[in-house]
Symmetry: C2
Subunit: 335 residues, 2 copies
Amino acid sequence: MATIRDVARLADVSVSTVSLALSNPGRVSSKTLEKIRSAVAAVGYVADPLAQSLARGRSRMIGLVVGNVGNPFFGDIRRELENYALEHEHFVLITDSSGKPEREQALVEHLIGLKIAGLALAPSSFGPDYVRFVESLKVPMVCFDQKVAGIERDFVGSDNYLAGAMLTEHLLQLGHRRIAFIAGPQHMHTASERHRGFVETMASAGVEVNPNYVVDGQFTRSAGYEAAMRLLIQPERPTAILGANNAVALAALQAMQELGFNCPGDISLCMIDDVQWSNVITPRITMVVQDTLKLGGIIARRLLQRITSPDAAAEPAQDFVLAPKFVPGNSCRRV
Amino acid sequence: MATIRDVARLADVSVSTVSLALSNPGRVSSKTLEKIRSAVAAVGYVADPLAQSLARGRSRMIGLVVGNVGNPFFGDIRRELENYALEHEHFVLITDSSGKPEREQALVEHLIGLKIAGLALAPSSFGPDYVRFVESLKVPMVCFDQKVAGIERDFVGSDNYLAGAMLTEHLLQLGHRRIAFIAGPQHMHTASERHRGFVETMASAGVEVNPNYVVDGQFTRSAGYEAAMRLLIQPERPTAILGANNAVALAALQAMQELGFNCPGDISLCMIDDVQWSNVITPRITMVVQDTLKLGGIIARRLLQRITSPDAAAEPAQDFVLAPKFVPGNSCRRV
DNA sequence: TCCGGTTATCGAACCGGTTCGATTTTCATC
DNA sequence: GATGAAAATCGAACCGGTTCGATAACCGGA
């Protein structure tokens, strides 16, 4: 590996001039610039990013920390961020916390140690300790997906209240009254907002919510399955189930299939968030989806802004909330 | 941030002693070790990983390069690698090439620049240039999924011939003769092996393969859809379709649904590789799946071996090939 | 020709560690 | 108490860059 000293020797200038020429070609005479350029080419010099980061105190890497890279929701976001970062000569490091706050914290600290230029974080926790931790980070950052109260950072996400409300309204329009809701962990902002959307829409329609119809699915497949089972074995079954996320809704579909219920014949089903291959699932589930592409674009642009422009870096935190989109399927019938 | 000099000053020893004590506690008197330990605790010293990597010429990071992190196939592998690496104080950086060889190459070079300790690579290309590139890498590495001829590195993957053969045999046993095959890109080892498994099993059963029944699905959803359509509009339709991977098979299912064919009533379907939520897809697709957990475990152990043990590093490249597993569904009927 | 002000280049210190040969200390042995 | 080998510690060089104050070269104007 050729070093900057090799280049300096060959070009017959000092090391500092080479460094200057490479990072700021304008401040060097065209003659020496040429000498240096050809020397660089001759020895095939490429700056060592590690040494650069050490000296500069920051690298050109961007950390992306998510709870589950396999989730297609993160797929578009990752792609957008990667593409945009690449255009601006930055490089995305993906890390997966498996949804565990301790691991997330370790990963973030590791990334900070790597002197990343910026951080895109999908928070996996909440509470004062967690907030304190995130707030203590000095890196330019953008949070997304999960809005955490108390974290004063840019946030990009969807209107989850609206998501819950839209589907509830849809079911009401179809004549459903006995609507069940498989909820997520209430401490999560997305979960509580979706829940609120359901509850308030029901209330404003003057329909009472049967307490037995609201069960906790923890946003996971297994808990969702159990929750769905609890709904389905009730003597007075709901006529429709609204899953607060894709995992619990599909777990409910599985439970329905196993118990021999027809969807939508016996019970209607709808969900928030898409999954891969949803269009080969029978029935096609009616859902509300997030505009992940747009979310990713906003995250990318905002983060790069904060990284590259000192002005933007000084701006106060801002929320970017997108409206979700209704995608009709054939899993809900009129009653 | 406290540096090693702060620790040295407080403990009243030289910087080099601190460094030695921290990396090799045994070679320092217990008295000074104690002094240093308490000094470390007092100032909250944590070594800067960047400076360490620069000085040592290698970091404690492991690069994982895949074509699509969203693919659940990579999910287990990633998880296994991360867990195992963490146990050995290594840290996994995930990068996604989107299946593009140029990007993959850029990513790998970037990771090498970061002086990663090891590389787990799912090759996204083939051909002499590509082979030369991979062979030129001096990092401990393990390739997986796609076996590339000419690359002399450890390889971990599944027996794809067997995968194709098993499903073909299954369909033959059920009485099918007009079996169609939606193939992948033939330059990919996995694709050609699965294809070979199909062809040879048919041959040894004495069943002729109708050339119109072998179509190219490129392992992608869109190409698979088109390929399936070509199969389904033939006057003499196949009675069964074998998808060489999950994407083409599910695309075929979609095509069948859209044309009003019943599966398995009209046409049987089976596939290689699972997808998330396959058990809520109707019908449950009969498939052969890879033991991704085990694959991940082997990749992780082998890579860490090569990284940590000089003996293992010197060993010749080795192939680890696992048998896939048959998972019956209800998408294939007896004819 | 001399002067003041840019502009170009340089040297040295620094980022925060590691490494290794040299020096000092320790301790068992004679 | 002297001797020598082993153990402990140190100093300096190094990894490969950046940065900034200082010096040198250049230029137009008096």
